[in-house]
């Protein structure tokens, strides 16, 4: 576990546990991840990808098992502490962007800074800086409905990054954008990886698999394979993964 940014041990998630309608979305999944690593969660619909990234993103709690983030067991955290964790350490890019309609791009981006008590001028400046980085400096005052799909996604990425998260989670990030936008997205992910951010990408898209250091194959709620790629060639990286593939052995 040493040096791992997160460690997932024997995690099971069951919806409507103990009822006839019980759904086992994840079953005894064990994996870990490291700073500066891109992990792609790959699998068909209903395989448990979204459940897994929701658990990593502290949006939900597992039914059993533990999740450690930076050495702290976040499965024991109460909801207010989870909210603080999401606010300070985790960025989330949703599949449908989840931007606030009718609200200018800069305000959408700066929303996560409001609970931190940052003043409006500082928030606007930080949002402008990020949106310019994503070539949206001319769209600061435009609400989501006046932006293209690709532009909306870039706003969503800027919002996820505005709090300098240690972990960035993206759910199917390439499903609503064209090739040019995909190239920009890949460049952004590579840059974040270089800065030590841990990235989780849930996807069907093979192009994102090529970018990954680790690929988790999920099927029917079980982790059937952990494919470690570039990380295996970086054994000397500080806080890097162990030489043998971490956890997640196929059942």
């Amino acid at each position: 576990m040493s040096g791992a940014r997160y460690t997932i041990r024997e995690v099971t998630k069951t919806y409507r546990a103990g009822t006839p309608h019980e759904v086992r979305a994840l079953q005894k999944v064990s994996v870990e991840g490291y700073p500066g690593e891109i992990t792609v969660v790959y699998g068909p619909s209903g395989s448990g990808k979204t459940t897994l990234i929701s658990l990593i993103g502290a949006l939900d709690r597992p039914t059993s098992g533990t999740i450690h983030l930076n050495g702290e067991e976040m499965t024991r955290f109460a909801e207010p502490a989870l909210a603080r964790l999401r606010r300070s350490q985790i960025g989330f890019i949703f599949q449908n962007f989840n931007l606030l309609p009718g609200v200018p791009a800069w305000e959408n981006v700066s929303q996560p800074l409001i609970p931190r008590g940052m003043g409006e001028r500082a928030r606007r400046e930080r949002a402008r800086e990020l949106l310019e980085r994503f070539h949206l400096g001319h769209r600061l005052l435009h609400p989501p409905e006046e932006l293209s799909g690709g532009e909306q996604q870039r706003v969503a990425i800027a919002r996820a990054l505005v709090g300098n998260p240690e972990i960035l989670i993206a759910d199917e990030p390439t499903s609503n954008i064209d090739e040019e936008e995909i190239d920009r997205l890949l460049a952004c992910f590579t840059e974040l990886k270089g800065k030590g951010t841990t990235l989780f990408v849930s996807t069907h898209d093979p192009i994102l698999r090529d970018l990954a250091d680790v690929v988790w194959h999920l099927k029917g709620g079980r982790l059937i394979e952990v494919e470690r790629r570039s990380s295996a060639s970086l054994p000397d990286r500080q806080g890097g993964p162990p030489e043998t593939p971490a956890g997640g052995a196929a059942p």
Binding site: S64, F77, A78, E79, A81
Partner: protein
Amino acid sequence: MILNPLSVAILLIGLLTLLLAALQTGFALKLHASLGPSPTPDLRTAVEEQTHLMLTLAVVLLTMRMLAWPLFYATLQSFVPDIPGAMCIYGVTQALPTLSGALQVLKPIGFFLSGLWLLLYALNRAAKTAPLFRRNLALLAGVSAFLAADALGDLFYFLTLTPRQEVTCCTLITDLPTRASAVVPRTLLGAEFDHPLLSLYFAAQTLLAGGIGLALFRHAETSPARRAGEGALALGGAAALGIAAIAFIEIIAPRLMGLPFHHDLYCFIQYVPDGSLMLVLPLLGLFALLWAASLERLGRHEETASHLKRYTRRLWGLALLAFVASPLMVAVHFLVDRWLGGT
């Protein structure tokens, strides 16, 4: 029953409080029982989802009781023309003296308990695993039941109070030489106790403010020392409040009202616009000291240690402000009166 807009408002608030408080008590007890000492993650999530509604209810409930406190006195004031013999709130309270006395004691206790719950709630939220959650639910159930009793008392009082009850004026009771508030200072300080009592009042408030200031600058690190310090400050606060109460009744209120032989605080808050604030501030100061001492006992946990220290300091800061502001207001009034008298 005496019907006017204020009595209708306090009855409505009392009825709503009673319903909400009964609901809240049951809700909190049910959650407390279902949670158990070591809940599963799924149960914990389910309970946390229900607590959002509970918190909203609690905030509405506490806000209503806080509104009911000043409204209680405003309503009594509005009854003065309806009660034969009454010249101020004191006269009205004599119509049903036991119940009105009890309600006047219950209201500040309700404020104190509500504040304690809110502080424990905030402390629990600040911790990572919410270790005080069950304790918080138990306290909420207790506070809600207490507020329900207070609201029930209000309803009973204002529904049974009738305009036909004849009472005596405050001057016939509070201005007697044998009044209770004069016995203690006369025994301890002699027949001419005005100047010594006033000096004692300012000295007690200054001494207590100094003690709080010292505690703020030299905050004990070890828990037993801190608890001892908090206990000593709370006792000091109670003593300072007691001295302030006697000083207000015997010297400060009569002087500021310009009625040297009238010793009624109900008239004082009527005649001196900021009189209520001068009286409430030392009470708030004592509550802040008691909140700090109670939190040290109820909120102690390894996860809350650093937050507890921060909360204690803030509460002491509030107490310091309250115990300094009230005598300062009194001193300013005395100086202004002297200056106006001189010109």
